[in-house]
């Protein structure tokens, strides 16, 4: 495993809920990242974020790590969940809240 893959693996394994995004929760730098944060906040989730704009290695590496071409990307319990479209669909179906609740209880 390359260094960047190891770094990303450590991040997703070391945090129950982590969002790779552009910018920060307070100052998202992209509409999709902003929407992802809004969804997590609506779910009252505890989450970590990684600002890919501050780390070019992760910005490129996360795309191949997840086999997913775009940012944001959500990981829950070390598993790739999806981007903001999937987060919105799961949120509307109540599935994201359920997944986050189950994760919070498991940890």
């Amino acid at each position: 495993m390359s260094d960047v893959n190891q770094r990303i693996s450590d991040i997703v394994q070391g945090n129950d809920v982590v969002l790779f995004m552009k910018g920060t929760p307070l100052f998202p730098q992209c509409g999709f990242s902003s929407r992802a944060i809004a969804i997590l906040d609506h779910c009252n989730a505890q989450y970590e974020t990684v600002d890919v704009l501050q780390d070019m290695e992760i910005r490129q590496g996360i795309k191949s790590f997840s086999d997913w071409p775009t940012i944001p990307q959500l990981y829950v319990g070390g598993e790739f969940v999806g981007g903001s479209d999937i987060m919105m669909e799961m949120y509307e179906a109540g599935e994201l809240q359920q997944m986050l609740n189950e994760r919070a209880q498991a940890s």
Binding site: P69, T70, I71
Partner: protein
């Protein structure tokens, strides 16, 4: 007016999925001057697609299928691409 990228995406998706419904919506005008607006007028899109190819597939699988069919377009040649992919009767 359909731009060349919208046309290319329409052709790629039609060839890959024989969709029963397909909309390639150019949202770029709503993002003029934002980060990611490259001045091409084709930076932000929404794809809504219905195809029997998505039956029995998870959300992740459906999006991966659409992204794969679009090759290097998502995230590279198009800054922002929202995808809604469903099987008939699922939406």
């Amino acid at each position: 007016m359909t731009g060349p990228l919208a046309q290319e995406m329409t052709e790629l998706l039609t060839a890959a999925f024989a969709p029963t419904h397909l909309e390639v919506i150019n949202d770029s005008a709503k993002h003029r001057g934002h980060s990611g607006d490259d001045g091409s007028g084709e930076s932000h899109f929404t794809v809504a697609i219905e195809s029997a190819a998505f039956a029995g597939k998870s959300r992740l699988e459906r999006q991966r299928m659409v992204n794969a069919a679009l090759g290097d377009i998502p995230g590279n040649r198009v800054h922002a691409l929202a995808i809604r992919a469903f099987a008939p009767g699922q939406a």
